[in-house]
C-alpha cells in the first residue's frame, strides 16, 4: 500500500467511524446520469447561479446601497460635479476605479441573463418531453417558483445602481403596486418608505437582493437537485432503456469530470462575453431623477414581455364611488401573469386529469408524439414572443423604419390570433411527423435512388432503417381517449355531467394521433 493510499484510507476510516458514510457514498458514486445535450440546460442554470453568487459577493465589497446624495468626483469625467445617490456613485467607482470591477459587473449582469435564459430553456425541455409527469410534479412546481424568483431577483438587481434607466423601471414597478385595489397605495408607501422614490428603497431591495432571495434560491435549488438525485434522472427512449432502469455514465469518474468541466466552460464563456461585450453601461444613462427619461427605455428581456403586455393594454379605467381601478395596469401586469404562472404550476395535474394517466413516467416523450402538449407549448411561446416584440416596439420602429402604432396594433390583434394559429399549425406538424415516422418504419428511408422497372415504371429504392432507429420509432405509447359515460350501467345520469363532458372532450383532443404500426402490418410488408 502506498503512502497516499494509506493516508486516504485513514481519513476515510476516521469519517466513516463517525458518520457511517461509506455505504451511502459508495452507492452515490455509482449513480448513473443519462446523457443528452438538452439535460445541460439545467446544469447551466446551476452553474450561472454559482457565478452570480461569486461575482455578486465581489460587487458588495465596494457597492454602497444608499440613496444619500453625494457629489461625484471620481474618475469618469462627464459626470464629475453632478449630484447623485451614493449607490450610483459607488457603481461608477466599481466600473472605473476597481481593477476588474467593470468585468465583474458585466459578468454578474451577463450571468443573470444566461441564468434566466437557461431556466427558460430548461423549462421548455422539461415541458416538451413530459419530464414533469408523475412522480416529478413537485420538482416542476419548484422550478416555476425558481423562474418567478429569478424575475424578481433580476428586476431588483438591475435596479440597485440607481441610474436613470433602472429608476424608470422602479417608477413603473411602484405604479403597478399602486394599481392594486384597496391595499396598493399602502403597500407602495410601506415598500418605498413614503412617496416614490424616497430614500429607503435601494437599501431595502439590497437586503432582499443579496440576502433573502439568494437564501431562498439556495434552499429551493438544493431541494430541486436532491429530488433529481433521489428520483433519478429521466431518460430518452432507446434500446435497452425502460421505465424501470436508467442507463448512462456513473458519477465517478466520467460524469463528475464532464459536469465539473462544464462548470468551468460556462464560467469561461460568461467571462469572455463580459470581457468583449458591454452590458448596462450605466455611466451613459446618468443618475436617476423622476423628471427625466431617456428614449428607448427597455427592461432586461425576461421582463420585456410583461412591459410589452402593459404597452398593448387598452386604455381602461373604472371610476366609481370616489375610487379608481386601473384595468390598463392590472390586466397586463397582475392578472394575465398570475393566470400564466398558476396555469404553468398546475399543468402536470391538468394533463394527468385530461389523460387519466396516474402512472409513473421515467422515459421521456418525443414532442411529436404528444401533439396537444407540444402545440400548447408553442402557443405559449408565441404569446410571449408577441408580447416581447411589443415590449421593444419603439426600438423596432426606429431600426426598421416602422410606425410604433402599426406594431402596437399588430400586437394587439396578433396576441389573440397568432397563438391559437400556432397551436393548430404545431399540432398538424406533429401529426405529419408521426406519419413520416410510420412511413419510415413501414417502408424504410428514401435512398434518393430511382429505379426503372422492366415495364417502364419508376420506383424509388428504400433502404431499411437500423434496428435502433426502428426501436425508437415504435417505443412510444399510443394515446387513447378516456371513455367516460354520461350515464352509468343502469341508465342513471352520473353526477357532474358537465365536468365529465369537458374531460371527455379534452381527452379526445389530447389523444389525436397517427395509429402506431402493428405487427400485422409489418408482416404484410415483409411478405410483399
Amino acid at each position: 500500500m502506498s503512502a497516499t493510499e494509506k493516508m486516504v484510507g485513514n481519513t476515510a476510516n476516521f469519517v466513516d467511524e463517525r458518520l457511517g458514510a461509506a455505504k451511502w457514498v459508495k452507492k452515490s458514486l455509482n449513480k448513473v446520469f443519462p446523457d443528452h445535450w438538452s439535460f445541460m440546460f439545467g446544469e447551466v442554470c446551476m452553474y450561472s447561479f454559482i457565478i452570480l453568487l461569486l461575482s455578486g459577493t465581489f460587487l458588495t465589497f465596494w457597492f454602497d446601497p444608499s440613496q444619500k446624495e453625494v457629489v461625484y468626483n471620481g474618475a469618469y469625467e462627464p459626470l464629475q460635479g453632478l449630484k447623485m445617490s451614493a449607490a450610483y456613485a459607488s457603481t461608477l467607482n466599481i466600473s472605473f476605479e476597481v481593477r476588474g470591477g467593470l468585468l465583474m459587473r458585466q459578468i454578474h449582469h451577463w450571468a443573470a441573463n444566461i441564468f434566466m435564459a437557461a431556466i427558460v430553456a430548461h423549462l421548455l425541455r422539461v415541458f416538451f418531453t413530459g419530464a414533469f409527469r408523475k412522480p416529478r410534479e413537485f420538482n416542476w412546481i419548484l422550478g416555476i417558483l425558481l423562474l418567478t424568483l429569478g424575475l424578481v431577483e433580476g428586476l431588483l438587481g438591475y435596479s440597485l445602481p440607481d441610474d436613470l434607466l433602472s429608476g424608470t423601471g422602479l417608477r413603473i414597478t411602484s405604479a403597478i403596486i399602486q394599481a392594486i385595489p384597496i391595499v396598493g397605495t399602502y403597500a407602495a408607501f410601506f415598500l418605498f418608505g413614503g412617496e416614490f422614490p424616497g430614500t429607503d428603497f435601494i437599501p431595502r431591495i439590497f437586503t432582499l437582493h443579496i440576502l433573502i432571495i439568494p437564501g431562498i434560491f439556495l434552499a429551493v435549488i438544493t431541494i430541486h437537485v436532491m429530488l433529481v438525485w433521489y428520483q433519478k434522472h429521466t431518460q430518452f427512449p432507446g434500446v435497452g432503456r425502460t421505465e424501470n432502469n436508467v442507463v448512462g455514465h456513473p458519477i465517478l469518474p466520467v460524469y463528475m469530470a464532464k459536469a465539473g468541466g462544464f462548470f468551468f466552460v460556462v464560467f469561461g464563456v460568461t467571462a469572455f462575453i463580459s470581457a468583449v461585450a458591454s452590458i448596462n453601461p450605466i455611466w451613459l444613462y446618468g443618475p436617476y431623477t423622476p423628471g427625466q427619461i431617456s428614449a428607448g427605455s427597455q427592461p432586461d428581456w425576461y421582463m420585456g414581455w410583461l412591459d410589452g403586455l402593459v404597452r398593448m393594454a387598452p386604455p381602461l379605467e373604472t371610476h366609481a364611488f370616489g375610487h379608481t381601478i386601473s384595468w390598463n395596469i392590472l390586466i397586463p401586469a397582475v392578472i394575465v401573469p398570475g393566470i400564466i404562472f398558476t396555469g404553468m404550476a398546475l399543468y402536470p395535474f391538468i394533463e394527468s386529469w385530461i389523460t387519466g394517466d396516474k402512472r409513473e413516467h421515467h422515459l421521456l416523450d418525443r414532442p411529436r408524439n404528444v401533439p396537444n402538449r407540444t402545440a400548447l407549448g408553442v402557443m405559449s411561446i408565441t404569446f410571449v414572443m408577441i408580447s416581447l416584440i411589443n415590449g421593444g416596439n419603439d426600438i423596432i420602429a426606429t431600426n426598421f423604419d416602422l410606425s410604433i402604432n402599426q406594431i402596437m396594433w399588430f400586437s394587439r390583434i396578433g396576441i389573440f390570433i397568432l397563438p391559437p394559429l400556432a397551436f393548430i399549425i404545431t399540432k398538424r406538424l406533429c401529426l405529419s411527423l408521426q406519419r413520416a415516422d410510420r412511413e419510415l418504419l413501414l417502408h424504410g428511408a428514401e435512398s434518393g435512388r430511382l429505379l426503372r422497372l422492366p415495364h417502364g415504371e419508376f420506383v424509388e429504392v428504400h433502404t431499411p432503417i437500423s434496428p435502433e432507429k426502428a426501436y425508437l420509432l415504435q417505443s412510444h405509447e399510443q394515446l387513447v381517449p378516456l371513455e367516460i359515460e354520461d350515464v352509468d350501467a343502469r341508465g342513471v345520469r352520473r353526477p357532474g355531467a358537465l365536468k365529465n363532458k369537458l374531460q371527455r372532450r379534452l381527452s379526445k383532443a389530447h389523444a389525436v394521433s397517427v395509429p402506431k404500426v402493428t405487427e400485422q402490418e409489418l408482416k404484410e410488408i415483409e411478405n410483399h
Binding site: 448513473v32 407602495a188 432502469n245 462544464f262 467571462a271 423622476p290 423628471g291 405487427e519
Partner: protein, 331 residues
C-alpha cells in the same frame, strides 16, 4: 391494441463501439498530450490576468477590429480570466471523453410508493401520537392554544408598520399653489410669457423655499411642461381655454399611466409621447389620450402672469398627478 408492437429489452442489443483511443496507443498518447496542452492554455490565461492587473495601466486603450478602442487592462483581465476558466473545463471534458472509461452502466428504478405495511404503521403511529395530545378531550387547552397562536400572528405584522408613513392626502399634493412662479428646469429662472416662442416647449418646476435641494419625491410630482401654440390652434372648451395664457398651455409632465416623464414632443403633430409605453396625448385638445394604454389626459395647470409679468400658477392642480391608485377620485 393487442396487436400493437411492444419492443422488449432483448429484441435489440445496444452497440458499444470502441473509440480510437481505446484501440490505438498512438491516438491515446495524442489525446493525453491534447489534455495537457489545454491545461497549459489555462495557465497562460491566469498569467495574462495577473500581468494585466499589475502591469497594465488603466488608461491604455488598444484598437481591436470590430470592437474598436478597448481598455487594455479590462480586456486583459477579462480575456485572461476567460481563458484560465474555459481551458480547465475543456481539458477535463476532453479527458473524460477520450481517456476515461466510456462504458455505460445501468441502475434500476424502484417504485416510490411505500409498502402497505409501512403506510399502515405510519397511520397507527400518527393516530396514537395525536390521541396522546388529547386535544379532543381538553377543550380548555384547545381554545387557549387557538387564541394564543391567533394573537401571536399580529405582532410580526405590527412590527412592520413603521416601514413607511400612511398615504394620507400626499398623492394629491404638489408644490403648485395659487401664485407659485414657474421656474425653468434646470436653471430655476422665472419666465416671462414673451420668453416663449410659438412652437417651443419648456420644462418648469414650482418656486419653493430650497430650490437647490428638491427631494426626488417632489420631482416625481412637480414637473410641468409649458408649450406655446398659436391660440387658434387650440380646440378647448372655454373653461380649459381660460387656464391657458396667451397660447401657453401647461401640463403635468408625469404620465397619467405609470408616472414616467412624458418627455417627447412632436412639433408638427403637437403630440406628447411617453417613451415608456407610448401613450400619446394631443396638446391641442387638453392632452386627450389619442393612443396607447393611458386612460386619462395629463392634468392641466391653470396659469397666468403676476404683477411683474412672470408666469405663475393661478391655482393648484385640481386633480392628482401621476398614475392612478385606489383612493384617487377621478370624477
Amino acid at each position: 391494441m393487442s396487436n400493437e408492437l411492444t419492443p422488449t429489452d432483448d429484441s435489440v442489443v445496444p452497440q458499444h463501439a470502441p473509440r480510437a483511443t481505446d484501440i490505438n496507443p498512438a491516438s491515446e498518447k495524442r489525446a493525453e498530450q491534447q489534455v495537457a496542452i489545454l491545461f497549459g492554455l489555462s495557465g497562460v490565461g491566469s498569467v495574462l490576468l495577473i500581468y494585466s492587473y499589475i502591469f497594465v495601466a488603466d488608461n491604455v486603450f488598444i484598437f481591436i477590429p470590430i470592437m474598436g478602442n478597448q481598455n487594455a487592462q479590462q480586456l486583459g483581465i477579462g480575456i485572461g480570466m476567460a481563458m484560465s476558466l474555459f481551458f480547465i473545463g475543456i481539458a477535463a471534458i476532453h479527458w473524460a471523453k477520450t481517456l476515461m472509461p466510456d462504458k455505460e452502466i445501468v441502475n434500476h428504478r424502484h417504485e416510490f410508493r411505500s409498502s402497505d405495511e409501512d403506510r399502515e404503521e405510519l397511520v397507527k403511529t400518527v393516530k396514537e401520537g395525536v390521541a396522546g395530545v388529547q386535544l379532543g378531550r381538553r377543550k380548555l387547552i384547545k381554545r387557549s392554544l387557538g387564541a394564543a397562536v391567533g394573537l401571536f400572528a399580529l405582532p410580526p405584522v405590527l412590527l412592520l408598520r413603521d416601514l413607511g408613513p400612511l398615504p394620507g392626502k400626499k398623492l394629491e399634493m404638489t408644490n403648485w399653489k395659487a401664485g407659485t412662479r414657474l421656474l425653468t428646469d434646470p436653471g430655476n429662472r422665472p419666465i416671462l410669457a414673451s420668453d416663449l416662442e410659438v412652437g417651443s416647449v419648456v420644462q418648469v418646476l414650482p418656486a419653493v423655499a430650497d430650490m437647490e435641494h428638491r427631494p426626488l419625491s417632489d420631482i416625481a410630482k412637480d414637473p410641468v411642461l409649458l408649450i406655446r401654440l398659436r391660440p387658434e390652434e387650440f380646440q378647448l372648451d372655454p373653461e380649459r381655454l381660460a387656464m391657458t395664457h396667451e397660447g401657453i398651455i401647461a401640463f403635468s409632465k408625469i404620465c397619467s399611466h405609470m408616472g414616467c416623464a412624458v418627455a417627447l414632443y412632436e412639433q408638427t403633430t403637437k403630440h406628447l409621447l411617453c417613451p415608456c409605453h407610448q401613450s400619446t396625448f394631443d396638446v391641442t385638445r387638453a392632452a386627450k389620450v389619442i393612443f396607447g394604454p393611458a386612460a386619462r389626459p395629463l392634468p392641466q395647470l391653470d396659469i397666468t402672469v403676476d404683477a411683474e409679468g412672470y408666469l405663475v400658477a393661478r391655482a393648484p392642480f385640481n386633480e392628482s398627478v401621476g398614475p392612478s391608485y385606489w383612493e384617487r377620485n377621478s370624477q
